[in-house]
Amino acid sequence: MKYHLKISMAILLAGLFLLHTPLFAQQNPQEIVLHINPILNGKSSNDGLIISQLNGDSIAIHTLRFYLSNFVFYKNGKEIGREKDSYHLLDMEDESTLSIAINPNTGDGLGAIRFDLGTDSLTNVSGAMGGDLDPANGMYWAWNSGYINFKIEGYYEKCPTRNHQFQFHIGGYLPPFKTVQTIELTGLNKREIWVDMELSVFFEHIDLAKEHSIMSPSKAAANLAQLLSKTFRIHGE
């Protein structure tokens, strides 16, 4: 009897252990992983830093942080599910945040995903929240309520600023300066989805020598948000 007790305890412990290992969780057959890869002219980040050229001048991006939220899944053109508490803060400096595991419960095959770049207006008026939405993540404006949906900062030779810095903090949830953008990725058929964020799409449309600092909701911020949404595309397409 004593022997039996020991065996069952061991089995119990082993079971508990297994439940807690990431290995076990990863075997979830429903899971789909979205990898976001920020690049500039095809160059990825190295240790959280992208160094490249823009119009023949050197440019470096050292900060890239943004929210993806409200994931909705589609199969054969029909909505088949939504992610619960769907908020993800992605940070180029922390590679683990750039891969998002989602569980669309599709059986197999997922045709399309829709999500928001940024946070929706309800989120912006709902008071203090935790996790990725915790204001201590530095993605919240203190003096004028609202999330910073997107931060991109770095250096560009032609910026007439101190240390040639540029700083874009893009946010704002009230019309007419709403910044949240909806993005759709279609033609999906694999369990791992590789998405490039080609930032040249953004930089080609702004003149960094003139426009280099945005820190509050405005028409300019709303325009830049639109540009940012166009940087996403499935790798290889």
């Binding site: 009897m1 004593k2 007790l5 912006n124 008026v125 709902s126 008071g127 203090a128 929240m129 935790g130 939405l133 915790d134 204001p135 201590a136 993540n137 530095g138 919240y140 203190a142 003096w143 004028n144 309520s145 609202g146 009230l174 405005s218």
Partner: protein, 333 residues
């Protein structure tokens, strides 16, 4: 068969441990916000941040703790003093860290559960998020919430207080802000002479009664009962102070029609919340009366006797129980 005994002992042991843990563990005591039956239901969503004894106490401690400022010299109470309806009397513009001076007069804090737009221009859209503004303002506390969270985490007994309030000893921005909001939500002022008259427990003097009628005729459309504010932004005819260039609500909405609109402040405890207006430009209620009767924008006419009567009514909005409530004062324990 005797083998069953160890099993039973083990089972009882585990049960005992679970029970002991449950008793000393997280068991917050719910608190219901007290307010007059005749008032509307609060606009604050308590389902997202239910009031508890532990949460309120933690929030009160944080409100009085200079740990929230960069050099540990300034607490919220430096500018919001309980005995003066949580405002900073004597200063027209509030004083912050290293004697730096802000651009606005600190408002009173009361009946905040019915407010959904904060600051003189409505820059803040939720009570939870309000504390972020003074914490990070370079002329107030000059800190960052990221750093405050780290400092509070290292400072005993905060981790244990956070555990008892929220079931987690890890300090987060969310829980810190929610605790502060809980304390601020309890600041209900509803026992002035005016309230007692409304409840049939006291009577106005003839003068106060006349003042009340003048008030309803001239002031109540903006300073609406029972909060003595319509919680909206209005222009009350004050000319722009050209040293401050504060255009109020327009700064936030960028709409020209919002130029020089400011949040209508409550008039409860007005006796103690001088100096008056967003920039503290008037030191006395007499100056306020003078402004309202001289301004061409509002067409308010009051004889000097009527001004006296109206002032007598405004003084019935003083709530001594609120001002001297020991639950709101510096926590001594």
């Amino acid at each position: 068969m005797g083998n069953k005994l160890p099993l039973a002992v083990l089972f009882l042991g585990i049960l005992g441990m679970v029970l002991v843990a449950a008793v000393s563990a997280y068991s917050p005591e719910p608190v219901a916000l007290k307010y007059p039956e005749s008032w509307p239901t609060p606009t604050y969503d308590f389902t997202k941040n239910p009031l508890t004894k532990q949460g309120i106490e933690l929030g009160r401690r944080l409100f009085y703790d200079p740990i929230l400022s960069k050099d540990s010299t300034i607490s919220c109470s430096s500018c919001h003093l309980s005995y003066t309806a949580f405002t900073h009397v004597d200063h027209d513009l509030s004083h912050g860290i290293a004697d730096r001076i802000g651009t606005r007069n600190s408002p009173v804090l009361m009946n905040l559960a019915w407010v959904s737009s904060f600051m003189w221009d409505g820059a803040v859209n939720h009570l939870d998020m309000q504390a972020l503004a003074p914490i990070s303002s370079p002329v107030e506390m000059d800190e960052t919430i990221e750093n405050v969270v780290k400092k509070v985490q290292r400072s005993s007994p905060y981790p244990s207080l956070f555990y008892h309030a929220f079931g987690d000893s890890t300090v987060t921005g969310e829980h810190l802000l929610k605790a502060m909001a809980q304390f601020e939500l309890t600041l209900v002022s509803a026992n002035s002479k005016y309230d007692q008259v409304k409840r049939g427990e006291a009577a106005f003097t003839g003068q106060e009664n006349n003042g009340y009628m003048l008030f309803q005729k001239n002031c109540a459309r903006c300073h609406a009962e029972p909060f003595f504010t319509n919680h909206d932004f209005e222009k009350n005819g004050l000319p722009l102070d050209t040293t401050l260039h504060d255009f109020g609500r327009m700064v936030i909405t960028q709409l020209p029609t919002d130029s020089l609109k400011f949040k209508v402040p409550t008039l409860r405890n007005i006796e103690f919340s001088y100096p008056y207006m967003h920039d503290g430009r008037f030191r006395k209620l007499g100056d306020v009366m003078k402004h309202y009767t001289q301004s061409s924008q509002l067409n308010i006419e009051l004889s000097s006797n009527e001004k006296v009567d109206l002032t007598a009514f405004l003084l019935t909005l003083t709530d001594k129980e609120f001002l001297f409530n020991p639950d709101f004062a510096f926590p001594r324990n």
